[in-house]
Amino acid sequence: MLNIFKKAAIAGALTLAAGAAMAQGYPEKPIEVIVGYSAGGGTDVMARTTMPFIEKYLGDGASIVVKNMPGASGQIGITEVAGSDPDGYTLGTFNLPGMMARTLDREAGYDRDSFTYLANVVNDPNVIVSAKGSGIESMDDLVAAAKEAPFAVTVGMSSLGGDDHFLLIKLQKMTETDFTIVPFKGSAPARTAVMGGHVAVGIFNVSEIAKFQGELNVLGVAQPERSDFAPEVPTFAEQGFDLVNGSMRGVVAPAGLPEDVAAKLRDAFEKAAQDPEFLEAMAATANPVSVVTGDEFRALTDGLYDLAEETWNTTPWN
């Protein structure tokens, strides 16, 4: 027994020593960022747009390689990250609430504690939209229609167990209404179904409808302040609905990353967040930036995990 403790202590000391030695020269070789989705998808574009700026702020000719490991809605990539060496040379993209929801609705090869939380980069708030001329032009219209005939109002969204779904559950609870959920495969077909009048309303993220505001009524946006992507649209809070929800994309490392390496990386994300060039590039690629690092990012994850768990326990989605 003692032996094991001794070994662990030595191993720990060695890791710390190695860590301290490592951070000075870090990064010495290219850093790999694993993206659990295909090239050209939203998360991939976030990673590829962000990483040149992280390279810049890590300095010393740091080089970051984005590697796509698509499959199983990001599960294959993030499981790989969770199982990698915490040496700072393997990082991964992390999506919320999806990555947490997947630990509930299927057996996952990771959990909340499998990661060192570096930085959340994107926070894309939810919106509720309806087709122009559908008769639903405000939140009051929507709630009234749902109260009049429970389950008669169809709601298109990109999937079950995602941020869109959680927003609806919050709304249903808050207003004591029931809607019929129509989970499409991805947001674009759902959006088209709203435009074509095949479903009554849709729940999306603001970046997904920013370019469609001429064709859709946007009933509200689910964050405390109005979004730069749709400045005309009132928040839900302005209309008396306390709804804050969205989809987040960030970057994590495997658990046990040496503290100084983590600090160096977090620092690079914080510096990038202040770079106007970065903000411009992110806006052009439909990424609403909201950089949150370290413990705050962990707290954000915990909050979303709790929400997902509560939802799963009361209204499981499969």
Binding site: A39, G40, V45, R106, T192, G196, A284
Partner: protein, 498 residues
């Protein structure tokens, strides 16, 4: 809008932008010609590299690859009965028999001219009619898309080839394969055996390569060693001599319209377009019996349609953000990289790049005749002179690389080999293979959209028959199923009357 179109033209001729299209077309032909490598894959490999490129260089490469690959797939389809891409399956029907009769060169020339014409028609549809055609896409909700998929499946089962029962069995196998993976609504695992690799279902290229490439290779290696498959002349003559004899205007126009039409609908893509065009051309032919035995018009019908869906698949992609095909989906990613977000605003916000991209599509299609004609007949066709064991092993290596590179895992390679064994048995028992491919492509669509439609209708199947578009599709489906037997009865009746 048309002023914007002209305004974008000069920039397309900038050296780098035009060179990108040329390189793209050549690369596309090569990629398309390799079994297992598809346009989707080539473009997804390309997307990360385009971050540092000028938008029109990046988009020009993609437009070129897309056009090139849709034709490139015809080369092994004609010469070896191995479709290079899913869209080239219908090209094997008459292309391969032509090659066996020593007319492989002509088949390739018909293919390249038809591909190019289809691509040109599609590019014009994209340039001139994108806004009105995107309105058509909006008409297709879940119940309509469900009927499109059913119609496609019915056509492939009942119209192609002689035995509907065997066709049905093949199609069911394809639909069964489409069920593997997480279900489209709840995400429950089905037939995944706990493998994370199976969660997204079976990739179409894995099935295609296994079913279509392995059996011919085995055949190739089974037959006694000779010098080459076809050491005699391919029957090649200069393309300008062959050109005046290609008089398939009706087929070309019909195939282009079908391709454009299928392209703007979500999901089905080039393979369904090629089948439909082939079916329709054969039905209206005066000599339908010669089809399947080396009718050049059959090659024309398939190839014109699978290129005619290329640019039109981008219409819903650019205006609504929904890609008509898998390739269009990857290209959307490529556009986003350059800050081009799909939607109605796209044409107003970035006219020079968007319209430039459309011109590149047009030039890509035109260049296809020049580049494809010479490349295919002068170099690729000579592959056939390789000794059989060498040719067979080269193809096997390409298959393995192609399948491995989809997700970068050996798991897919083993799956492919498994499908290869199934394909070989089916081939020997004369079960048709095209319904399997379409079954996989359309089965998933049919299921997903049926379930969405029923959710919208809250469980009431009446929702499937509630509007005109659905009813028209139902009528077409019935016509496809009972049409052939009615026609036969009618002909028999006439014979007895005589």
């Amino acid at each position: 809008m048309y002023a914007d179109l002209l305004h974008a033209l000069p920039n397309v001729f900038a050296f780098a932008n035009f060179a990108a299209v040329i390189i793209g077309v050549i690369a596309g032909i090569v990629v398309g010609a390799m079994p297992g490598l598809s346009a989707t894959m080539a473009i997804s490999v390309l997307v990360p590299f385009t971050f540092g490129l000028e938008p029109l260089v990046a988009l020009g490469l993609m437009a070129g690859i897309y056009n090139g690959a849709m034709y490139g797939g015809a080369i092994p389809a004609v010469l070896l009965r191995i479709p290079g891409t899913p869209a080239a399956v219908a090209t094997t029907f008459d292309g391969y028999p032509m090659a066996q009769k020593g007319k492989g060169g002509l088949a390739l020339q018909v293919a390249v001219v038809s591909s190019s014409l289809g691509g040109i028609a599609s590019a014009f549809a994209l340039m001139l009619l994108a806004p009105p055609l995107s309105k058509v896409t909006l008409l297709f909700g879940p119940s309509e898309v469900f009927w499109v998929a059913v119609f496609g499946l019915a056509s492939i089962i009942f119209l192609l080839g002689g035995n509907p029962v065997k066709g049905l069995i093949s199609a069911c196998f394809g639909v069964f394969v489409s069920v593997v993976g997480s279900d489209p609504i709840y995400g429950n695992d089905r037939f995944t055996f706990g493998q994370l690799e199976m969660l997204d279902g079976i990739h179409i290229v894995i099935l295609l390569v296994g079913l279509y490439a392995l059996p011919p290779v085995i055949d190739l290696l089974e037959t006694p060693l000779k010098t080459g498959v076809n050491s005699s002349n391919l029957g090649t003559e200069p393309i300008w001599k062959a050109l005046p004899r290609m008089k398939y205007w009706k087929t070309w126009i019909r195939g282009s319209l079908i391709g454009i039409w299928i392209g703007i609908l979500p999901g089905a893509g080039g393979s369904m377009a090629a089948f439909m065009s082939y079916n329709e051309a054969r039905r209206s032919s005066k000599t339908p019996d010669t089809w399947g035995e080396g009718e050049p018009e059959g090659v024309a019908a398939a190839e014109v349609a699978n290129n005619a869906d290329t640019a039109s698949a981008l219409i819903p992609a650019l205006t609504l953000g929904i890609p008509g095909t898998a390739v269009a989906a990857v290209m959307l990613g490529g556009l986003l990289v350059h800050g081009l977000q799909p939607g109605p605003m796209l044409f107003r916000e970035n006219p020079d790049v968007v319209f430039g991209f459309m011109w590149q599509f047009l030039f890509g299609a035109i260049l296809l005749v020049l580049l494809g004609g010479s490349l295919a007949t002068n170099s690729f066709a000579r592959l056939l002179n390789l000794p059989r064991p060498l040719l067979g092993s080269v193809i096997i290596v390409l298959m393995l690389i192609g399948v491995y590179s989809i997700h970068g895992r050996m798991f897919d390679v083993y799956l492919m080999l498994g499908f290869g064994a199934i394909g070989w048995v089916m081939d020997k028992l004369k079960f048709p293979l095209p319904p399997v491919v379409l079954g996989l492509i359309l089965g998933g669509f049919a299921e997903e959209n049926l379930r969405l439609a029923l959710r919208i209708g809250r469980g009431d199947p009446a929702v499937l028959f509630q509007n005109t578009t659905s009813l028209i599709l139902v009528a077409l489906t019935i016509a496809v199923i009972v049409g052939p037997s009615l026609k036969k009865r009618f002909l028999d009746g006439r014979k007895t009357a005589e």
